[in-house]
Amino acid sequence: MALNYLASISHYIPELLVCFTMGALILIEATYGNDEKGSSKNMFYWGSMLGLLCALIYQVKGLGIEPTQIFTKSLVIDHFSGFAKIVMILSTAGVIYLSKISKDLYEGTKAEYTILAMGVLVGGMLLASANNMLLFYLGIETLSLLSYAMAALKKNDERSTEAGLKYVLYGGVTAGMMLFGMSHIFGVLGTINFSELMPMLTTLSTEQTAILIPSFLLFFVGIGYKISCVPFHMWSPDVYEGSPLPVTAFFSLVPKFAGIVAFARLTQVFFGGDVGVLKDSWLVLLSIVAALTMTVGNVSAIGQRSIKRMLAFSSISHAGVMMLGAIVLGKSGWTAILFYSVTYLFMTLVAFYVASFIQDHYGNDHIDRFSGLIKKHPAMAIAMAITMFSLAGLPPLSGFVAKFNILAAIIDKKFYVLAVITALNSVISLYYYMKVVRVMVLKDAESDEQIGGLGFVNQLVIGAYTLPVVLLGIFWQKLIALANGALLLIK
């Protein structure tokens, strides 16, 4: 049932709030002259945080509302997208705070970062709710276009510019391929609306199926690129490395979650029913892609000396694990994805916060720079060690529970081989995560110099992010119940 536009907008308040905040930030930025920016800075950050907080409140409130489709069925507002949006808003708030304290961004460009991040967030929220191919495409493009600019935020740094350029080129090509695939699907089925597509897929003639298989492949290219799964992952380590650190943190969170959520919805919409060969080919392809994504990401991470590159490769493998949740095509899979995204959010933030302090202090982010951190700054080292073990999936930390949920979901569907591959990948990942712990705890420091600049507030923030990493590993009952309630609506 299509609602009227006014009613539609009432479901769209969080997105609008973010848009308004973005506009307000631009105004603040434009009002103050260059010299006054220092004094306006606090107002700027408080403004963005306030906007995000309001959006968050509305989003949380929205979880209680019955799932609906708005704007002539082009967007779906359900618990699944709502939960994902909450995670994205929290991620954005986390990285905006990081951008405030990081030295990797020039003083002058910090305002741009915040504005762009808000824009990407809107794109991500759109993508998470997209219910037709046009909005899906718009979501991806909003997300991407602003991301390109973010990657190149360090204007005077050659690598940052290169990262931006690389991102644009790859992004442009894959977006084109996806558009091509979409137009095929439209050509064959005559609609772009997901809800109308779904019933048609069950009654396809052989010829139509033959055309649609490559079309879906092309469609997958666009989304696969966004979540950087193999073989479309090559851009991500370079872009991650070239981008300023807060941007890298942002990229490994918001666009990735948006991509995974959209991907899960897409897979469910098209292949949730009994669509024969189309479904089989899609699932087999995805299984192989997910297995490769995990393995390639992990194996490549082993050799990295830069922590940012290591985290980039590891985030590829985590995306591979989350993809498994989509393959399951069921409630347990989506629950697992949502749980994973929440834990991954906290783990990533801790890792990037600590990496940021190390980089600001030493001028680079080689893993060797972490040596002896336990003596120099025990609190930071312990938070980092907990996070690394959690990312590797050791109990009783939240990363383990996240992996356990995914494993449980795929074993339930009897994908034993995939389960074993996932398990073995955990072992590989432990090796390189442990390397960071090893360097921090077992190696002697290069110098006795203390690491400054980590004030009480920042320690508190790191502590606040580390706490859920531990607590969600033990008391996960509530969160899993919440994620379980986030049912997917596909109509």
Binding site: L407, A419, L442
Partner: protein
């Protein structure tokens, strides 16, 4: 609910209270940290003693009065479920005893005292967790958490190559356990996600004989496939050949107390896993693979003994002798007879005490000499004539060595004799071959003893002092255990008989 119902929880969490206490004490108060840790482990030991006193030997299976069960994660039917039977009780007692002794033996640790004792106590708690958990998920969590304190204990306080050893130990065991995780989750779904899907007791009894699992289009028997997954997980811990390569590194690099815990308790977690999980849940597959397990056990016995014989480092020699002795446990398990299984559980306990003595003694010697060479790489003797120099030390060493060798009258003999009695009818060839392992064991131990303790006193050995009061104090309980259970093993055997009998009769039906 009765007065004993929380005893297991107290035992499990008491060391964690100890950890909190250590963390609250300031770094500089090293003696206070040591004393507090000692008090804590003694309290745990007393609690374990109470457990033993209240334990009912006649009950096969879990003792109702101690069982604790609370819901933890209801969506997955995961419970905080503790229980104890005749197989886990000896392990709990061994753990309590060895940890108290290890705290005493660690008195000389000077490096980062606070961290050391906190991690040691944390390790103790996780070990209890493994031995007491009746929920597979809880078991798995403890099984894995144990790796974290071990990693740091070896990596920070270990010898020269500590990092390599710590990483290898960590990765190897993690590899094994993650396969176990897959098996565990598969079990959960095969049982239909009922209320007791992670309950080890509810899973046991051979419910999965007729299940199949589809892998690449082949319908394989579920029980066999996942028995192998669990087997690898446990075998790495034991360690069963060819998964043993982490052990010599970890042992040699670990500080004394950690070597003691590793050989005395942690290796037993592997064989305990067979007794508690792999065998009861997949009895048909266990019977099917019994021959293979026996042959692997034999390889352990012979191969471990030969490796031990080739060592010039005395700690490495004892480490390989553990590989050999754990082979006997595997043989006893493969027998699946009452004597064999009893022998295996008894050997788990007895090897725990005798090998702990060996490692403690080597640690005492190392504190004086700062090396462990029987023969140095340049061909000269590392030790000589210790017998005349260190008489008290030598006497304790002789007791430990003979117990480890399996001399009648000492504890090792009874367990090995029971194992041989148990397997003879089923695996005659293997029995005969395994006896060679005993001979080899005597050979390398006596050979080592001769070169270290007899002959001319070499110059630097003259400055060594004999055991001090603290060292004698913590060796005495182990000496008593080794001699007492060598002459009068019935307290131990009575404790385990009913539970082991239950398992054997289950296996006999397949």
């Amino acid at each position: 609910m009765n007065a004993h119902s929380n005893l297991l929880s107290w035992i499990l969490w008491m060391p964690m209270i100890g950890v909190l206490g250590v963390l609250l004490l300031p770094k500089t108060k090293e003696t206070a940290i040591r004393v507090w840790s000692l008090i804590n482990t003694v309290i745990t030991l007393v609690l374990s003693g109470c457990l033993y006193m209240k334990f009912d030997n006649t009950v096969p299976g879990m003792q109702e009065m101690f069982t604790i069960k609370h819901s933890w994660i209801s969506q997955f039917n995961i419970f905080y479920h503790l229980g104890i039977d005749g197989i886990s009780l000896p392990m709990v007692l061994l753990t309590s005893l060895l940890f108290a002794i290890c705290i005493l033996s660690s008195w000389t640790v000077k490096k980062q005292v606070k961290g050391y004792f906190a991690l040691l106590l944390m390790l103790q708690s996780t070990v209890y967790g493994v031995f007491l958990s009746m929920d597979f998920f809880l078991f798995y969590v403890y099984w894995e958490v144990m790796l974290i304190p071990m990693f740091f204990l070896i990596g920070i306080w270990g010898g020269e190559n500590r990092e390599y050893a710590a990483v290898k130990f960590f990765l190897y065991t993690f590899f094994g356990s993650i396969l176990m995780l897959v098996g565990m989750v598969a079990l959960y779904f095969v049982t239909g996600q009922g209320v007791d899907s992670f309950n080890i007791l509810a899973l046991s009894g051979g419910k999965f004989v007729n299940e199949t699992v589809n892998i690449f289009g082949m319908a394989l028997p579920f029980a066999k496939v996942f028995f192998v997954a669990l087997f690898i997980g446990f075998a790495i811990k034991v360690p069963v050949f060819p998964f043993h390569t982490w052990l010599p590194h970890a042992h040699v690099q670990a500080p004394t107390a950690i070597s003691v815990i590793l050989a005395g308790v942690l290796l037993k977690m592997g064989t305990y896993g067979f007794l508690r999980i792999a065998f009861p849940i997949f009895p048909s597959a266990s019977v099917y693979f019994a021959d293979a397990i026996a042959w692997l056990g034999l390889i352990n016995v012979i191969y471990g003994a030969f490796c031990a014989m080739a060592q010039t480092d005395v700690k490495k020699l004892v480490a390989y002798s553990s590989v050999s002795h754990m082979g006997f446990v595997m043989l006893g398990l493969a027998a699946m007879t009452v004597q064999g299984m009893n022998g295996a559980v008894l050997q788990m306990f007895n090897h725990g005490t005798s090998t702990a003595m060996m490692f403690l003694l080597i640690g005492i010697l190392y504190e004086r000499s700062h090396h462990r060479w029987i023969v140095r790489p340049d061909g000269t003797k590392g030790f000589g004539g210790l017998y005349t120099q260190l008489p008290k030390f030598s006497i304790v060493f002789i007791i430990a060595m003979f117990a480890s060798m399996g001399l009648p009258g000492l504890s090792g003999f009874i367990s090995e004799a029971l194992i041989f009695l148990g397997i003879y009818n089923r695996f005659t060839t293997i029995t005969v071959l395994a006896v060679i392992g005993l001979l080899l064991g005597a050979a390398y131990l006596l050979w080592m003893f001769k070169r270290m303790f007899f002959g001319e006193v070499i110059e630097e050995n003259k400055s060594y002092t004999d055991m001090n009061a603290r060292e004698i104090f913590y060796m005495v309980p182990l000496c008593i255990a080794v001699i007492l259970f060598g002459i009068w093993p019935s307290p131990l055997l009575d404790m385990m008989k009913a539970s082991v009998g239950k398992l054997v009769s289950l296996l006999a039906t397949f």
